[in-house]
Amino acid sequence: MPAKIIQTNTTPFTRVTVDPITLDIVENALRNARAEMDAVLFRTAMSPGIREQHDAFPMIANEQGKMVVGQFGSFLYGFMQGYEGTIEDGDIFLTNDPYSCGGAVSHLNDWLLMMPIFHEGRLVSWSAMFGHMTDVGGKVPGSLPTDAKMIYEEGLIIPPTKIYRKGELNAELFNILLANTRMPEWNKSDFLAIIASLRLAERRVRENIQRFGVDSYISAMQDMLDRNKLAMGAIIKMFIPEGRDKASHFEDWIDDDGQGNGPFKIACTMWREGDLAIFDFAGSDPQSLSSINFLLNEEMFKMFFGAFTINLFDPQILFNDGFYDLVDVRIPAGCILKPKKPAALSCRTHMLGRIFDLMGGLLGQGAPDALNAAGFSDSPHFMYSGFDRDGKWFQLFQIGFGGVPGRPVGDGPDGHSMWPAFTNVPNEFLEAYFPLRIRTYATIPDSGGAGLHRGGNGITIAYEMLEAGEISIHDDRWLTYPWGVNGGEPGMRSTKTLVRADGTRENIPSKCDRIKVGPGDMLHFNTWGGGGWGDPLQRPADKVLADVERGLVSSNGARRYGVVIASGAVDARATEKLRAEMARARGETKLFDRGFENLRELKARAKKETGFEPPVDPVFFGARVAAE
């Protein structure tokens, strides 16, 4: 039974004609409101994950719950259908349960807060925001256990719950939540910061209604949704081949599940039937036994697809839910993108990132000029926690950055974020507040794939631990490569090495928890580079030389571009010769260069190249599901 919305005023809204200029003004006003929500949040939140790295996402929706401004599309419609209770003025709802909101949030760390906005007794809008809490309980600090088999091991599950009732915080319930985290102060402050943002959105919505009248405001939001639909309809026709027989297909992998199994494939086929774009994930691997599953919300995928394409035509548009009817996303139940409860979900970040590589390859193969290489499609985590000398608990959760791929517009930036708004944590801040010294924070030469447009380099971070504790790592692309396109080469893989205080070195796997560390131990965390775009032999030699002078490419690495550098200058004759030889030897350039022929061949050289035994082909208990 859907939720019961309590309105003291049941007069229906009247759809009125909104002149195009008023419409644009409402659009600008809502854009400003969203920016203000961000500003309030980042200033008052406490966890580095939100205050420094901006792992939080606001939105404003219309009265039906359709997102009018925001990033990840709306989950409100689903919430209203599923919530068994009343929705009243002054209520705010909290959930972190992916399974009860169709994957609107995809692991328990993300607390999603939703607030209905009323005006004179009528529901007129929603504001909502989710943010990543550093810790929500569960079996490991950070609540992202690599080896979890069920979601119950990953922290406290909060089904959709009225945390504010008519403006009053349910303090006892809130205390239960805080009692189940290792970092109650941070959660409390982050929670209140999100509430402050939602209330600000409420004020803005009411001001808009005052300015334009409620019917104009409601109608303007509908017009904005319609406008998106119109625009996306044109884009879908432009980008997506019509007919099942002309379908595009692409696949990619995440390397392992931290339990020795992998790689796990995601596959997608895309075509169009009339106005309707279809994305079919049949062929993706079944769900995993560990926590790398990603419950992909269909609406969220639509949003990813839309945001990627519409940017090229009207970057100022406020992207919204309006075009959802034009896209049909099919994800087979029981596959790794639609795991069945109670599958563990905490470490979904790799699959979430890899969706972007998948989409890039899928959309771009029909238009190689617009095709990007594979980039830093992940948000790898470093976690460090323990009790310091004074017996005080410390706990760090940090997201790493790597190489943006080579793109049609140019080189990929080195060590940057591919998620919007994310920033790194200043190392001086880390040293001031955590028992850490960051000895190196630099780009890794040659880690970006060679190309006419170079892939961005990955980052090497040397963490020196000053206290005994434990670290966790969640990373990927240690086995498969970020691929290059249009003749560009793949980027370099990720690696992690722990150098103990006594000088012994050990390679650390990509996904692990509870690695014990002591004072003086040094972790070298090397992220991966972006793939290259276009033929590296065509890259102007002076650009390669500039990269060498900047230490972004080594002299030896310049040879990947067929450029010979001798005593600080390009040897033009030798370069010409080398480029001719290389061009002959390689023949035709490839549309995609994955750096391997097939998984068997890749696994065969894993030990030699990475120091790790290859993961074994996963055996799926989900195979039963597939057979049903």
């Binding site: 195009p20 644009d24 600008n28 205050r51 990033q71 409390k188 090229l312 990007n372 517009v409 801040f429």
Partner: protein
């Protein structure tokens, strides 16, 4: 003015002359460059604002109670030529000799323009080993939404990677030396940098905000290896945590330093040649004044010098008209600057932005939007939305109506179509307005939207107003202020045209159009109080310090700042001191600055600061926490005495403004055409009332009063625009 006051003024002026003569003797006797002079009280003060097109000057004669303005063409090749031309002109009009001017206060955009045009120095950078890529990686931030990385290209760092070297050294977070500086290796690497041809050097070492010990040593070695190359160290320019921001700020300092130093030195030399011993002072981004030498050493503090002049001018004008709470709105051709003044004090922040360069230097909280008279309107095919800016037609080719080759429809063209910039009236300036060209341009938008010409034009104006409204919100509502408690002052070339509409949008009344809206910056320059501050980082929880310890530190800072100000000629008796404490909840990233007078601190101590912080936190963010408070930084700000007001006499007239009426015209507003009157501002008198719709023209600006509004000329010459029904308008 009473006779006694006159006598005092004359006496002070004579005293100042004697002091000035003494100072000259002292300066001659003591060759040290740091020699300080007493500030001659009551001398003539000159404000100078150099813009892209015009150089504006304003002369204040405190003793004589007189004020003069002048406008001359700017001379971009060497701005001092324009400045000297202006000085000649203004002296002629005032009937004085240039040597009678004792102080020149100057707001300059030279630092900003150096950044905007990429014409700064080649900067070498010394970082700590392991941190060479600090600028290359920056904060890993990619602008735009989802997929923003697809179209974003990062610009090269202002200190190139090939000109960056690492010093083998390391401090810990408490400032203790972990790795001593390898001086031999550094010497070798610095020599290489020198040979590469760098023109300025930045030293920014890791944890350098805690201790400058290694940075100072590196600077000393650099002075030996590369004499003559200006060196900026992060521990001096901005000793604050966050390695990227500190490095970027110091690099920007180096980047603009040679250009600014050359500019200031040249100007100072030319002024001295013409005017003898004159004190040149440069307006800083935070609205304070800087000595010429400090400006040359730390030019990163001048990035907002230009806009700060406007805000100071607005402050001054409004104060004398009796308004303490003010939103300032400075609209030019390509961009608009807005700021907030509360109770006579402009809100400042510890950050300055120029294009995509962000530095940690205090500045008046001026927000800039890429919306101005030249902003271009367009209709994207796919979405059929009306967009305005951020592309601008600039000065060339300019709006279509200016007939300089521009064809794209701009905000100015929309204003012409609507009759706000009348083409049939003789304007004060010599710019001719071609309505036919504006119509052709705006018609393209009308066709794209499927509406009539006037609707399209009004739409363009409304959209650009909405964009500016967004900026006004950032400085007001986002900071917890209600715009209804503020008046709005519009200036700059286009501000007076849009001020009425913006006031209506945000309900801030009245809209104030100051006299000479185009020379307001020079006004601000001339009337700015001398100001100095001393600061230090002090990170600790409130529980871990005491009123006594904090009081001692603040007093020491105040003494330091006061001594410097005294050196610039402000006696202690004329100084005001204010403490500022940066504070937050432990664990938060932001901090709020709490202002407190020394005697309040003596009374309330740390508890008072914490309580004020809680209140402000609640006002800004709707909640306060019971978490521990953490102090982050301390400052003492010392200001010189306030200048007395000098204004022109606007006579007194009755409500009837018809003597100033020039002719009838038509304007389009709120969906229809209206009969309107054009007035000549020079002929308006205090007390005149102008019923909207009306247009008021003067030499460098045109003001619009909308239908349903009334303009009232106040005693100091401002036009105050109110809704017609408002008590003040009746």
């Amino acid at each position: 003015m009473s006779k006694t006051e006159d006598l005092i003024r004359t006496y002070e002026a004579r005293l100042a002359e004697i002091e000035a003569r003494l100072a000259r003797v002292e300066t001659a006797a003591v060759p040290a460059p740091m020699a300080r002079r007493a500030r001659p009280a009551g001398g003539l003060r000159l404000g100078v604002d150099v813009g892209g097109t015009f150089t504006d000057l304003l002369l204040l004669d405190e003793a004589g109670g007189r004020i003069f303005t002048a406008k001359v063409p700017s001379t971009p090749a060497d701005s001092s030529v324009g400045v000297l031309n202006g000085i000649e002109k203004i002296c002629r009009e005032a009937g004085i000799k240039p040597s009678e001017i004792s102080e020149v206060m100057h707001g300059t955009t030279v630092a900003t323009n150096t950044v905007l045009t990429g014409s700064g120095a080649r900067v070498g950078l010394v970082t700590t080993k392991g941190y060479r890529d600090t600028l290359q990686i920056a904060r890993s931030y990619v602008p735009g939404g989802l997929g923003g990385w697809v179209i974003w290209n990062k610009s090269l760092p202002l200190a190139r990677l090939e000109d960056t070297i690492e010093a083998d050294e390391r401090l810990d977070a408490k400032g203790h030396v972990l790795v001593p500086l390898d001086e031999a290796a550094l010497r070798r690497d610095l020599a290489k940098l020198r040979d590469r041809g760098i023109e300025a050097l930045t030293i920014s070492l890791f944890n350098g905000y805690v201790s400058g010990v290694h940075e100072a040593r590196v600077a000393a070695i650099a002075a030996e290896v590369m004499p003559g190359i200006p060196v900026s160290t992060s521990s001096q320019v901005m000793p604050e945590m966050y390695e990227y921001e500190r490095t970027e700020t110091t690099v920007v300092n180096s980047y603009v330093r040679p250009v600014v130093a050359k500019y200031v030195a040249n100007l100072q030399r030319e002024l001295k040649a013409k005017m003898g011993d004159v004190m040149l002072q440069i307006l800083r981004s935070d609205g304070g004044l800087s000595s010429a030498q400090a400006a040359m050493d730390q030019p990163v503090n001048l990035l907002m010098s230009g806009p700060a002049g406007g805000v100071s001018g607005a402050l001054w004008i409004a104060k004398n008209a009796g308004f303490g709470n003010l939103l300032t709105f400075d609209m030019g051709g390509t961009s608009t600057d807005v700021a907030l003044i509360e109770a006579g004090i402009a809100r400042t922040r510890r950050e300055t932005r120029v294009a995509d360069v962000i530095v940690r230097a205090p500045s008046i909280d001026v927000r800039t939007v890429g919306a101005g008279g030249g902003s271009i309107a367009y209709v994207p095919d796919l979405t059929k939305a009306l967009r305005v800016g951020p592309q601008s037609a600039g000065a060339v080719p300019g709006p279509a109506a200016y007939d300089k080759g521009g064809e794209a429809p701009t905000v100015t063209d929309a204003n012409v179509v609507l009759g706000y910039l009348p083409s049939d009236a003789k304007l004060g300036g010599d710019m001719e307005i071609r309505r036919d060209l504006a119509v052709t341009a705006v018609q393209k938008i009308a066709d794209g939207l499927g509406v009539d010409l006037e609707t399209a034009a009004e739409g363009i104006v409304r959209i650009v107003n909405e964009n500016m409204c967004g900026a006004l919100r950032l400085v007001s509502v986002e900071q917890g202020y209600d715009p209804r408690d503020f008046a709005l002052i519009g200036f700059g070339g286009a501000g007076p045209l849009h001020a009425n509409a913006l006031s209506r949008l945000i309900n801030a009344w009245p809209a104030i159009i100051p006299p000479g809206p185009g020379v307001l910056c020079a006004y601000g320059d001339a009337t700015t109080r001398l100001r100095n501050e001393a600061s230090q980082t002090f990170v600790t929880t409130t529980a871990a310090t005491s009123d006594r310890e904090l009081g001692d530190m603040l007093r020491a800072l105040a003494t330091r700042a006061a001594e410097d100000l005294e050196g610039e000629g402000v006696p202690r008796s004329e100084q005001d001191t204010l403490y500022q404490v940066d504070i937050r909840y432990q664990g938060q990233g932001m901090k709020l600055t709490i202002d407190m007078a020394p005697d309040t601190f003596a009374r309330e101590g740390i508890a008072g600061i914490a309580a004020r912080f809680d209140r402000e936190h609640e006002q800004l963010f709707t909640f306060a926490l019971d978490a521990p408070h953490e102090l982050v930084g301390l400052r003492a700000v010392v200001q010189g005495a306030e200048k007395p007001f000098i204004g022109r006499d606007y006579g007194t007239g009755g409500a009837d403004a018809s003597a100033a009426a020039v002719q009838k015209t038509r304007v389009y507003a709120d969906g229809g055409w209206h009969e309107a009157t054009i007035y000549d501002r020079a002929r308006l008198r205090s007390g005149n009332r102008i019923a909207g719709p009306a247009i008021v023209t003067e030499m460098d600006s045109t003001s619009l009063i909308l239908p349903g509004h009334t303009g009232v000329v106040d005693k100091v010459g401002n036009i105050l625009i109110w809704p017609a029904g408002h008590a003040q308008a009746r």
